[in-house]
Symmetry: C2
DNA sequence: AATTTTTATACCTTTTAAGGTGTAATATCA
DNA sequence: TGATATTACACCTTAAAAGGTATAAAAATT
């Protein structure tokens, strides 16, 4: 077992959005063009990821990585 | 010459904040613990960076990478 | 409960970011 | 303008992410 944080912001965001879109990890992998392994590690909270790969996935959901104040972090998922 | 986008959001954010803090790239490198090379590539808009390294720098400025709607991207630097 | 689908884990290989260092270019200041 | 400080570019090495695939576990569907 790994000790990644599945509850971390990005991981949660992607899992949540993917579920809402009724997609499997395989489908998301296909649609976004990133490897299946990457989708899995992303959703499981792997701490160190390549930013443009993350963006490749986020873009599919109309989002992108941007610097935001830490105090605002708690409302990062505000977009539903 | 590389063809990176120095005007990209993260690059601009870091350069801007560093300048406002009256720090050199070397100092920012020291304070954040990331390599000097990384600070430079970051500020010059290298597209592919490791997310936790970026966060290591952003944290110094009280920020962190989070998924934000693309439509909101233009106000990413809202925090001054 | 059994079958199918989806997700998680483990192996190996390839790719590439990160870091260090040295040098050149640019900017800052006396 | 000349000296100093800061930033940019180019080399190489090392570390680790990404990807593919195969297997196991867990969830969902019937």
């Amino acid at each position: 077992m790994n000790n990644w944080d599945r509850e971390n912001g990005i991981a949660q965001f992607v899992r949540d959005r993917r579920k809402k879109a009724k997609l499997t990890q395989v489908e998301l992998s296909d649609f976004t063009g990133v490897g299946l392994r990457f989708v899995r590690e992303l959703e499981q909270g792997k701490p160190n990821l390549m930013s443009d790969k993350v963006n490749q996935v986020l873009l599919f959901f109309g989002h992108t990585l941007t610097p935001t104040p830490i105090s605002d972090e708690t409302r990062r998922n505000m977009g539903k």
